[in-house]
Symmetry: C3
Subunit: 222 residues, 3 copies
């Protein structure tokens, strides 16, 4: 039997747990990607979690000087990948729809994260396939945008700054949001998370038994 991979081990933890560990490891912003939230299989409900290595796709405006990639990104998704898609912020087109989830699921993808809009909500939900996005819409991208890069670094801009996603970075997405774990620190997070979640469980128990937060923290957190 194979030893559990870090992807297996992460199943015990939340996106918040990952951010807590990343802050301790000095990762600015705790790896949080502002913007995308859960739209499928449910809207910010339930225990769905996407855990996978990033397979990145970048859309640019049709008017961009960059060339369209020759091969459709949706047919080359590695088993277990988290598909991460970047859309131009100046257009309301939904760059990702139901057929894309149909194909991603057939490839064994873990889920799709879109920094931009998606459409065909009913189709993603009927598949039970996890989709995170900034918003929804009705218009396909074809009149306005093209895919110009696959498996290259993404720079995702929000009102707070820029979040980098490198191909192969682990992405963890759940009801609270999306976290990107830089490869350089991924080996260090599990022990930190075990320690913190065990302490937090005891803190919660002590608070429920009548202790103050400060007392409970002193007692259970080292």
């Amino acid at each position: 039997m194979a030893a559990p991979t870090i992807i297996d081990e992460l199943a015990d933890f939340s996106a918040c747990d990952c951010s807590d560990a990343l802050v301790k490891l000095g990762v600015a912003g705790g790896g949080f990607l502002p913007g995308p939230s859960m739209w499928s299989p449910q809207r910010q409900e339930g225990t769905t979690k996407v855990i996978g290595r990033a397979y990145t796709v970048r859309y640019a405006l049709l008017s961009s000087a960059e060339d369209k990639v020759p091969v459709h990104y949706i047919d080359t998704i590695p088993q277990g990948a988290a598909v991460v898609i970047s859309a131009p912020s100046t257009i309301p087109n939904a760059v990702y729809g139901g057929l894309m989830s149909t194909r991603a699921q057939a490839s064994g993808a873990a889920g799709t994260i879109v920094h931009g809009r998606v459409r065909d909500l009913h189709e993603h939900r009927a598949l039970g396939y996890p989709v995170f996005a900034s918003d929804v819409g009705t218009v396909s991208p074809y009149e306005n945008a093209k895919v110009v890069a696959v498996n290259q670094k993404l720079e995702l801009v929000s009102e707070y700054g820029t979040t980098i996603v490198e191909p192969g970075d682990i992405v963890v997405a759940d009801i609270d949001g999306v976290v990107v774990i830089p490869r350089s620190v991924e080996d260090q997070i599990i022990p930190l998370m075990i320690r913190q979640t065990q302490a937090d469980a005891k803190v919660a128990e002590s608070i429920k038994a009548g202790m103050t937060f400060v007392e409970a923290s002193k007692k259970h957190r080292v």
Copy 2:
């Protein structure tokens, strides 16, 4: 038996299907109206669809030089209409509430789309009446806004540009968003949608059976 109208025929299609056809017909932005999303009968869940011809209402600031219309818009909604309401973007007032849905439903309206905020969520939901809006709030419009135009052209501004709604344009709104079908092209969309949705169903089937997206598209899309 009367021949089915285009309103009847649209019941078989989604807002996304409409946008696909509108893009093919050269309608910029595929008719998508950025902003309003489904709040009633459910929050972006379920199969509710509003399909109707636009009955338009425009609110302006109380301080505007435009005159308030003398007759209350809510009492003259045509049977089957989609009520489309524009609110000033600089105030957080909710221009539409429960009594308005009570009256709209009694008039046989198909639903209400508000480019702005609504209130009384429980009341719309208890009626089972479809309401789409940009957001919710608690304050009525009376201190800040007045209705200055009924059944005149609306220019709805979003971060992406301006969407025009002419009285009588068909509006299709569902879980993915709101689409406005310009009258000049409405006769051409049904055949385009039949062709596309039939092809897409076959593409989905082939993908599930193991084909790539590109192969499946080549096989089923002309």
Copy 3:
């Protein structure tokens, strides 16, 4: 048996009812606080209402010249309070999480309103504790922010202007949003709300029976 307090009496009314009364009393904006909406126990569903006097907490950036308060705010919440928390708008950190709700609930707080982000959605929901917030996220505040004021006036800025919350102001929050009732007018709102909600119920009934909105309003509203 003690006479019912205004907090008890408010249980019969909605946040919208409160705004209606506040507009009549000349409170600009009807007391509506733009931004926070219900995230727990459900996402903008259900009959949950927070009614309590504001216990205020203000976070500032770590770089701020203001001193961190010496005592943790979470351990001194008065029974029945509505905890109102202000976070800096320039950071995506979630200033409030599951352990905070655990402690607030143990203190008998009515609920928590965050002008900013929260995290640990599952934990608030598992507690059945009401949490309203502007958005969600995954990162704790500790790397970026500190509490600099407890039970002092808050100035909450939105795109529409500034909403003031004074410690002890009554806060009413439900599915439509959050309303702040200034102390100076709180004694006057209940009779206004009784009159309006009784009239509105009759207006709704008459509309359902076939009357126009204008006729029904003339008949039932003085």
